[in-house]
């Protein structure tokens, strides 16, 4: 392993990793039935993150049904999302789809006058009939400016898998960000994080002496961070390919780093940013040493429980590879197959070398064949979606349902043990139950 990939060296006391890790490892690419969510599901957390935004899906009854099924118990709160359900007349050309959409938006904004930003979210049906939502959002923006800003993106299943919906949403925000003035370097942290995690990271950057740090998405739509050639950005999530591309188009540069999962991951992530801003290594050490040590202490009991346990990832969110890295290096878990819906080589360039070389990587899915492999391997924990979890439990396999990893604060030092606990809990439960 090259020194640059493990800048803290022995201080981390992590197990030695074979030279290239999984950088050059072959990846099994499969096509077939994919048991994954579409990008609309991202709305479930995005509508809580951006507090004055509303998400209007333009789609079918299926889309509305998905949203309320995925939103689960949260449906008792007044949600900031809805669906404009297309009907026969919209398809038959009897109704001007654009007029119909304008009417739905008007009705919606009358009901929710507090909304400042409206996303028109494309779905499979609206994409297939080629309803131009970007033009519609421009038209409606003119009508409702300056009170409501109206944007559009696609969350359709034919184009996006689960977390890619957030990617497209943030990418749609990028052109609306104000231009950064001057050439003083500023840092943008990209990806929706739990509020508590965001606050912790803000304090850590402060301790590093980095002042000009902003987060995207913001909590309020009027609080958009500026971007320009002086901007460096740091991805907090691995599924942000389109957003990174849009930011690069505006002259911003990405800081390559592993993702902030676990004690080691968080330190490497912070250090990459601090190095890019020329922060003194001693200052980096002093800012990160105490919380990193605390995170490692908190991880210890979980390491005792999870060490040597064999892990299998079904594809879901693109978080699989960073999670697998954290679970193998910091908790001693053994990786069997790590599946991901989409493998972004460039954004994972700092992660792949940290994976054990014998890890089997797969991209895409043929769910029946992948289930056959999982049954042959019989892992101690299978990480999978809710469509597979109970059936696998009934076959005697312990599972960890993967959606929870998007709905729980898992990034940063203080959450490292919570992340470990998510994986330890199903095993703990299995040993407790005597029935």
């Amino acid at each position: 392993m090259s020194p640059s990939l493990d800048p803290l060296g022995a201080a981390l006391q992590s197990p030695p990793v074979p030279a290239p890790g999984c950088s050059q490892a072959p990846v099994l690419r499969e096509r077939g039935q994919r048991e994954v969510f579409c990008g609309l599901t991202g709305i479930v957390w995005l509508h809580r993150k951006i507090q004055d935004a509303f998400f209007l899906v333009v789609g079918s009854r299926t889309c509305a049904h998905l949203m309320q099924s995925a939103a689960g118990v949260m449906i008792f709160a007044e949600p900031r999302f809805a669906t404009a359900v297309m009907e026969e007349r919209d398809l038959a050309g009897l109704a001007d789809a654009n007029e119909e959409l304008d009417a739905a938006v008007t009705k919606l904004l009358e009901r929710r006058p507090d909304i400042k930003m409206l996303f028109l979210v494309g779905s499979c049906p609206s994409e297939v009939i080629k309803l131009d939502l970007s033009r519609a959002s421009e038209r409606l923006s003119r009508q409702y400016a300056p009170d409501v800003r109206i944007l559009s993106y696609s969350g359709s299943g034919i184009e996006t898998t689960f977390t890619q919906g957030e990617d497209n949403c943030l990418a749609a925000l990028v052109p609306t960000l104000p231009q950064a003035e001057g050439d003083e370097p500023n840092l943008l942290v990209i990806g929706a994080l739990a509020d508590v995690v965001e606050d912790q990271f803000a304090r850590l950057f402060d301790a590093l002496g980095m002042e000009n740090v902003r987060f995207l998405p913001p909590r309020r739509s009027r609080d958009l961070p500026p971007v320009g050639p002086s901007t460096r950005f740091l991805l907090a999530q691995p599924f942000l390919g389109e957003t990174a591309r849009a930011l690069e188009e505006r002259g911003a540069q990405r800081i390559a780093a592993p993702f902030p999962l676990g004690a080691e991951g968080t330190t490497l992530w912070l250090k990459a940013a601090a190095d890019a801003f020329g922060v003194d290594p001693m200052r980096i050490r002093s800012a990160t040493a105490a919380p990193e040590a605390r995170a490692k202490r908190a991880l210890e009991p979980y390491r005792a429980e999870l060490d040597g346990k064999r892990l299998f990832f079904f594809p879901d969110s693109q978080l699989e590879i960073p999670l697998a890295r954290m679970l193998s290096r910091e908790l001693g878990m053994e990786l069997t197959e790590v599946g991901t819906p989409y493998l972004h080589r460039q954004h994972l360039s700092e992660e792949l070398p940290l994976l054990p070389a014998e890890t089997a990587l797969s991209e895409g899915q043929d769910v029946d064949r992948q289930l056959d492999r999982a049954r042959a391997i019989r892992p101690d924990i299978a990480v999978c979606g809710l469509g597979l979890a109970n059936p696998l439990e009934a076959e005697g396999m312990t599972t960890k349902w993967s959606i929870e990893l998007l709905f729980t604060p898992i990034q940063g030092y203080e959450q490292a043990a919570d992340l470990a606990a998510l994986f330890a809990r199903p095993l703990d439960r299995r040993t407790r139950l005597r029935i």
Binding site: L40, S60, T62, G157, L386, P391
Partner: protein, 570 residues
């Protein structure tokens, strides 16, 4: 386009999935984009099934659209057949696949599978979940009961009728004296091999006389309490001397469907699902079917009478020393006096809404202040019933319209679906769930039918529970300023049901429930209004404002409040 916050029904292909998942030996190949597999978790999480639904999706993506999606469908179909080896295959499209028009039916025919293939035409932009389930069941019944499945393909086709009288979850327990039925409810319960001479007994039984035999039609996967309703009705039928030939679609195989014609008549538990199939079976085999849905004590008694008429047996005597349900006594006991005339709003699928309206008025002594359904197919029945109860029928699948109607009616209890729980919570009204759509808590572990005599017990408990109890209600009316026991506090026996809106009429932005223009409340009158218990306060406010508006009063005083009270109490 329709602006939809919540939808009462899913798309029609979810209805088809409910049929496929309910049955054994049926596989559904669904042409659908990536992501539509979300529907699996309705079954694995909400209904908590321990197997994946028997559905294979093509999950096409944008890059497939430029290529041959028809070829993708066909290869998926063949792979699914080879892997799962079903006895029959359903093929169809989801809403997006309907737009690209690949014709799964034609493609499946070309694939030439060695089992029956039933193509489904489910218009996603016109129809919904229950329609999809009804159509799928009808098409399957037509294909199978019509004789497409040969005996040789289905080794189980010849097995004896499923025994009635004993439910899988409850022991047998004879409520009725059943005159003239020589066989105990246990008849047919044991397999012939299990008892010595059993086969002989079985043979002689069929030679002499057999008990009347019916099918139970309608229960599906993801149905509201279908599991326990079936158990309860099986038990009931067994007690009155009727055997059950086939329960379908829940638990049935294609081979079972082929035997549907062997029964003497059909019991239709859920007309939304099985109505069409039952009518076809009547035309095809001359089988009559039941029209009374046995929800509530009165309806169950009528159901028993109807079944006996169809079965050609004497109606059973009700044994008074063995009360069939606790509901009649519980409802007559003085503790229930305070339930009299409580205003209740009922909404749900047509079957459950109609049944609830009857039970609420005839068996609980409530007053119906609203009745509605999202089932357009049975709208006429609901309109007729609403007219009889003297309320405006609400036929709508628009959540916002239902919300406005409930806010307008100001009920003290809402009987509805999961969606009405949102509305009731927002308005601070007690609510019980009577119909799908429902969430995970309404697929309970315990035995909780809605139908039959035990179902009536369940209804009693679950509908009374959200109401403030009698003494509590009296004390709230007498002492308004108790610091811990007041109407802002959560009812003491309920963890849930806290009112989130300070006052119903203010908590919601519905244009037509604002106070009429020009009528203002005086400070004293407003204070006096607050002394009225919260569950009737909204109604008092509305009535007073109406009274004042009709008389052109500029301000509402304490006098106006009591004038209106006297006026409306007539």
């Amino acid at each position: 386009m329709q602006l939809t916050v919540w939808t009462y029904e899913g798309p029609p292909h979810v209805g088809a999935m409910r049929i496929a998942t309910a049955m054994e030996g049926v596989h559904y190949v669904l042409h659908a984009p990536q992501g539509d597999t979300y529907a699996d978790l309705l079954f694995t999480m909400i209904e908590r099934r321990d197997k994946r639904p028997p559905v294979t999706y093509t999950t096409f993506e944008a890059r497939d659209l430029g290529k041959d999606t028809a070829e993708l469908f066909q290869s998926t179909l063949i792979a699914a057949y080879e892997r799962f080896l079903p006895q029959a295959v359903l093929v169809g499209s989801s809403c997006t696949a309907e737009l690209i028009q690949d014709d799964p039916g034609g493609l499946a025919q070309a694939a030439n599978l060695p089992v029956p293939v039933v193509p489904l035409e489910l218009p996603s932009y016109q129809r919904k979940e229950n329609w999809g389930a009804a159509e799928t069941f009808y098409q399957l019944v037509r294909a199978m009961a019509g004789g497409q499945v040969s005996q040789s393909q289905n080794s189980d086709a010849a097995h004896s009728p499923l025994p009635a009288g004993i439910s899988p979850t409850r022991g047998e327990n004879g409520l009725f004296e059943t005159p003239g039925t020589p066989f105990s409810p246990l008849a047919g319960e044991m397999s012939p091999e299990a008892t010595e001479g059993g086969a002989l007994a079985q043979a002689s039984q069929s030679q002499t006389r057999r008990r009347p035999r019916c099918n139970i039609l309608g229960p599906t996967a993801l149905g509201f309490r279908h599991r326990d309703d079936v158990a309860e009705i099986r038990k009931l039928l067994g007690e009155i001397g009727v055997d059950v030939a086939v329960v379908a679609p829940l638990g049935a195989t294609p081979g079972d469907l082929a035997r549907l014609g062997e029964a003497d008549f059909n019991v239709v538990l859920y007309p939304e699902i099985a109505g069409v199939a039952a009518k076809w079976l009547k035309r095809q085999f001359g089988q009559e079917f039941t029209t009374v849905v046995p929800i509530g004590v009165g309806a169950t008694r009528e159901f028993v009478a109807e079944v006996c008429r169809l079965a050609g047996i004497a109606a059973p005597e009700f044994a008074p020393e063995k009360p069939q349900s606790n509901l009649p006594w519980f409802s007559r006991s003085v503790d229930s006096n305070y339930l009299t005339g409580k205003r209740v709003f009922v909404f749900g699928d047509a079957t459950h809404a109609l049944a609830a309206a009857r039970v609420a008025t005839e068996e609980f002594g409530f007053t119906l202040c609203g009745l509605g359904t999202y089932t357009r197919e049975l709208a006429r029945d609901v309109r007729t019933a609403a007219k009889e109860y003297g309320v405006e029928p609400l036929i709508s699948d628009d959540y916002l319209e239902v919300e406005a109607a409930i806010a307008e009616a100001q009920p003290e209890l809402v009987l509805g679906t999961q969606m009405e729980r949102h509305i009731a919570k927002r308005l601070g009204i007690g609510c019980a769930v009577i119909s799908a759509p429902v969430h995970v808590q309404d697929y309970p572990a315990r035995y909780s039918p809605q139908m039959g005599f035990e179902g009536a017990n369940v209804l009693w408990d679950s509908w009374v529970h959200p109401l403030v109890m009698g003494l509590e209600e009296h004390l709230l009316g007498m002492f308004r300023e108790d610091f811990e026991f007041n109407d802002e506090a959560v009812p003491s026996h309920l963890g849930s049901g806290a009112r989130t809106a300070p006052e119903p009429a203010e908590g919601i932005q519905v244009a037509d429930c604002e106070a009429p223009a020009g009528v203002g409340w005086g400070v004293d009158a407003e204070a006096e209004l607050r002394k009225i218990p919260f569950f009737v306060r909204g109604k008092a406010r509305r009535n007073t404002e109406k009274y004042a508006a009709e008389r052109g009063l500029a301000e509402i005083t304490v006098e106006t409040l009591y004038d209106a009270k006297a006026h409306f109490s007539r």
